[in-house]
Symmetry: C2
Subunit: 267 residues, 2 copies
């Protein structure tokens, strides 16, 4: 019955997180992670930790990651509103909780993934969309369904039938000669790697943020998934359909991530 | 960086909770709380703690509550999937975490509440509806909006415009001579006090579970809120409209709760 039991992160999922790739004692995408964290904290009304506190804790985590796991590691940051009394209403002034954990870097294979559209739909909630907040039961249930169906990951459509993301990555679909990634203002998380790709990837036909109805999936000839820990992941199969795992623009997408983050140079 | 940081309750809100009224060293509604907890754990695929472990922890919490707060107290139980590695997919077999906290009983005033319909809508998610799970950011944001607007509580409609609950209670509306409480299969939490009322309250005109569109609110002549800690709360104002805080059936509703739980006898 320690104070952790009263942390609003545990009680209500009242917080945010970032999962980050560390590389040789550095964290090159930190400015993007920090910007997303700050934007989420502003939307939820969570106080950001002071810069000195955040920088010191981050430095400790990077050092620990390097000591424990060597040059490549994963660092997870959890920011919660803090420890408070019972009740949903946010207390006026509490100290946010800042928790770092380190783990090994994922083994990023190049085997194309087998995916399919999950039966579970994402709820539409504009007030929470885009943020990497701690309310992740939909992703837990989606990952469970994907595992039960023998998939490497599952594509998630929202309640209105628009493809949004996978359980743990952002989605890019090649359709009619152009790349499309769904908007994230009604569901989903605005991924950091997706942000890098939007800034730095210019595939033939262009990269467009636009809704992707499930109905167009049979006409999609390639899919890619992205996240900040694994980079770009090729998709070789969606349901019964084989997809080209090395589609047009793929090499340029990898090059764009590699130019932005040295951890992705070797992949 | 202790194990708590890796508890899936904190990481993803991957768990459930119950907030319960304790009375003179007893917890009369425990069978209902336990049934809801078990139903939620089954839906989420969370392992229930063994009976002996649950009973022992509950006994300790009840004793602690009585020692710290006397005859009337509040006990909160959190059950999470447990401590696991990173990643959304539930590990096959982990030990669930069971956390109890105790606090004083709320001061249950009889002042009629001032409420209004919040701007924030509840997302529609049948896969999570009805459960008292740990993903509560909508309630946090709703409670913040209610506080900012000077309300005692806020009524929450779902994305389709159906009134569902308040930020912390179930909702009963008196319309056309009968009492209505919304179904909770698309959003909201199936409250224990609501369950008692459905079983034991037979107001004139009856109590009906049926959808309650926002559009009918101007014709509603009374509202009541219920939860397992505070019992039945009268509503005196909804937006600009004054409502009868002691409507037909109110005394019988209180009597039904009091007959079921001695903590509500005096109110």
């Amino acid at each position: 019955m320690g104070p952790e039991a009263l942390d609003r992160g545990l009680a209500y999922g009242d917080g945010l997180f970032e999962t980050m790739r560390a590389h040789r004692g550095t964290l090159p995408w930190w400015p993007r992670h920090r910007a997303r964290l700050t934007a989420g904290a502003t939307r939820l009304g969570i106080t950001m930790p002071e810069d000195a506190r955040l920088d010191a804790a981050l430095g400790d985590a990077v050092a620990e990651a390097q000591q424990r796991f060597g040059g490549e590691a994963t660092i997870k940051l959890i920011l919660t509103r803090g420890v408070g009394a019972r009740g949903y209403a946010p207390p006026p002034a509490i100290k946010p909780s800042l928790i770092f954990t380190t783990s090994e870097a994922p083994s990023v294979g190049d085997d194309p993934l087998r995916v399919d559209v999950l039966d579970l739909r994402l709820a539409v909630q504009p007030a929470l969309a885009g943020m990497k907040h701690l309310n992740r039961l939909e992703q837990v249930l989606g990952a469970r369904e994907a595992a039960e169906r023998g998939l490497d990951d599952g594509l998630m459509a929202d309640a209105d039938g628009f493809l949004t993301c996978s359980t743990r990555a952002n989605l890019f679909a090649h359709l009619d000669g152009r790349w499309i990634t769904p908007p994230l203002d009604r569901a989903g998380v605005a991924g950091v790697a997706r942000g890098v790709l939007l800034d730095a990837w210019s595939p033939p036909g262009g990269l467009h943020v636009m809704p992707l109805p499930m109905a167009v999936l049979p006409r999609v000839d390639a899919l890619l998934l992205s996240n900040a820990v694994r980079g770009i992941l090729p998709v070789g199969r969606c349901g019964a359909r084989a997809l080209d795992p090395r589609p047009v623009g793929f090499a340029e997408a990898r090059a764009a991530l590699a130019a932005s983050h040295p951890a992705f140079r070797e992949s």
